[in-house]
Symmetry: C2
Subunit: 352 residues, 2 copies
């Protein structure tokens, strides 16, 4: 599969660990650091070591797996370890893991000594099709996702399909939600292809097409002034559900599970506001509902969800701004939704 070119860096899909070894050996780096969590440290790091064994200067920084680690305390921990290990400005940070690793590692690297180089080696489907491409780095604060961060591009991204083989089914489904989104906002034929694919094991070709769709959007609008907002489809309500679940549930929703619910809600909003047909709403609801467990939200919690949405960095002056579908494969950005409209969409989801 062909290498994609992003804003200022390549995204490799074939022979990726050798490409990484080449990158590491040819770059003018003084030191190498790998950021992992306990899962990728165990399952993926040994493979990296095999491929880039020529390195003599290779320190590992490991954090706890999970969204709870994506905060300023862990970021300070990464900075302090970089200091203790003697990292200088010519150091490279290799982010080996899911979205938490790439978001946190990207943020830590983009601010350490005013910026050192970093690359992503995404190991989950979600991070392969979403977090690793686009130059967004970030951490959470006060339970607000990605509220602190930078726009900083990695120097390269290495997407190794083999890493997905060790993933539990729930993690695959989490990434799949973003792939479905890519079809819905930008490519109806890709959406149709997904519907009839083995979605428990998405092929490397499907992953490649998803990354290509996302990459085309972020190249056109790296700082999310316009068209990039289309990637937020499902995320206005979905992010709020995710945050709500993180606070209230012992076993919180994955990102994809929350976005799946958000996409159904926002398909309903799309019927109400941007001309999506009822038939398409039914189709979207049926496909997503067939894949993801239903999340129960009591109507009493709607105001809590709404106030989380108001704090979302995408919104201005407390108004809820969402990206909605005009039809499958087409998205319109900057739709202001009222509190009542949001509640109606949540009610639609509750009643399916």
């Amino acid at each position: 599969m062909n290498t994609l070119q992003s804003i200022s860096y390549p995204i490799y899909f074939s022979n990726t660990l050798n490409e990484l070894a080449n990158f590491v050996e040819q770059g003018n780096y003084s030191r190498f650091f790998v950021l992992t969590d306990e899962n990728t440290g165990k399952h993926c790091l040994p493979l990296l070591r095999q491929h880039i064994d020529k390195l003599d200067n290779f320190d590992v920084i490991e954090i706890n797996a999970g969204e709870e680690s994506k905060n300023i305390d862990f970021c300070v921990g990464v900075w302090k370890m970089l200091i203790d290990f003697g990292a200088d400005r010519q150091s490279l940070l290799i982010n080996l893991g899911g979205g938490v690793i790439s978001d946190l590692g990207g943020f830590a690297a983009s601010t350490f000594k005013r910026g050192i180089d970093f690359v992503h080696v995404p190991t989950t489907l979600l991070s392969q099709v979403d977090a690793s491409v686009g130059g967004k780095t970030g951490i959470d604060l006060d339970n607000i996702k990605n509220i602190i961060g930078t726009f900083t591009q990695p120097k390269a991204v290495f997407i190794e399909h083999d890493f997905l083989r060790t993933l539990p089914a729930r993690q695959i489904l989490s990434g799949l939600a973003e792939m479905l989104k890519h079809g819905l906002i930008a490519d109806a034929s890709y959406w149709n292809k997904l519907k009839f694919s083995d979605l428990e094991n998405p092929s490397a070709e499907l992953v490649h097409r998803s990354v290509e769709i996302k990459n085309d959007v972020v190249i056109e609008d790296p700082h999310e002034k316009g068209i990039r907002k289309s990637l937020n489809y499902g995320h206005t309500i979905g992010h709020a559900i995710e945050t709500y679940s993180l606070v209230h549930d012992e076993n919180p929703l994955t990102h994809g599970e929350a976005i799946a619910a958000g996409m159904i809600c926002e398909a309903k909003l799309s019927v109400m506001k941007t001309g999506l047909s009822e038939a398409e709403l039914d189709e979207i609801t049926e496909v997503i509902n067939g894949l993801y467990p239903k999340y129960k939200i009591d109507e009493k919690s709607y105001p809590t969800l709404y106030s989380i949405m108001q704090k979302d960095k995408k919104n201005q002056s407390g108004k809820i701004n969402s990206s909605l579908l005009t039809k499958i494969g087409h998205c319109r950005i900057d739709n202001i939704c009222t509190e009542d409209e949001i509640y109606e969409a949540l009610r639609y989801y509750a009643e399916i």
Copy 2:
């Protein structure tokens, strides 16, 4: 005095508070925040309020004065207040204060929601001639100055000479060190002019010329890949002395006092390594020594100073890289100094 144009923003010197009022009223901002410390909150904020009283949406975030505030805890405090005040991406942060305010405020703004706009209103001589121009933001960590930060340009800088009138003499001297440095590295006639000026009350014209010199350098090399390193003259040893003093002294050196000592040491290094004449060394030593108190460093502390230098973000692989003078008004970057050479320079300073 004419407005200077920096990389992507203007630096105003005349009628500055009215210029700020214009900027605030003409910009497309939803909300305004002013970052102050208890000194600028008391002495400078009332003036701002007088000039931009048309604002109805004006929240103040106050931190403690002093370098001790320039850390991640205060930064998290600023982020949380921005969240609590409901700051969105169209908000503007006005940094009203010295270098701590502009460095910390710039960092907090450049990372909040992946970057909101900020302007600097520097209120000390040091921040007027140094921190406010050049797009470096930063905080300290583990007693390492500016180890965490970004390169992010402000949207404008407003240099109001009247603010200097309330400054104690020691604060004026702190800024003066950077002005002397500007002459030494780039403009011998400016250095000569400074020698015969009233340096306890530097004129607005002298301040303007200093900013102009710094601005010319940073425009040429915003990310400090080359010529911008010349601004580090005096800072290799000076920063280490500053950090050392911050940890060891009850009443630590100001930045300028430390840089003054650093410039004498590095003038000695310049004789040893880059051809500065003994006569020029004597002249530099005499001028600086006549203005600044002598700082005593016991020879037993030299290894501590050296290890602080090794952690400085300017250095690679533990080697000490300094910017030295070839003659007054001319600087050469990228001179690797050995431990022995550093000690010899420190000894020279100790014996004057």
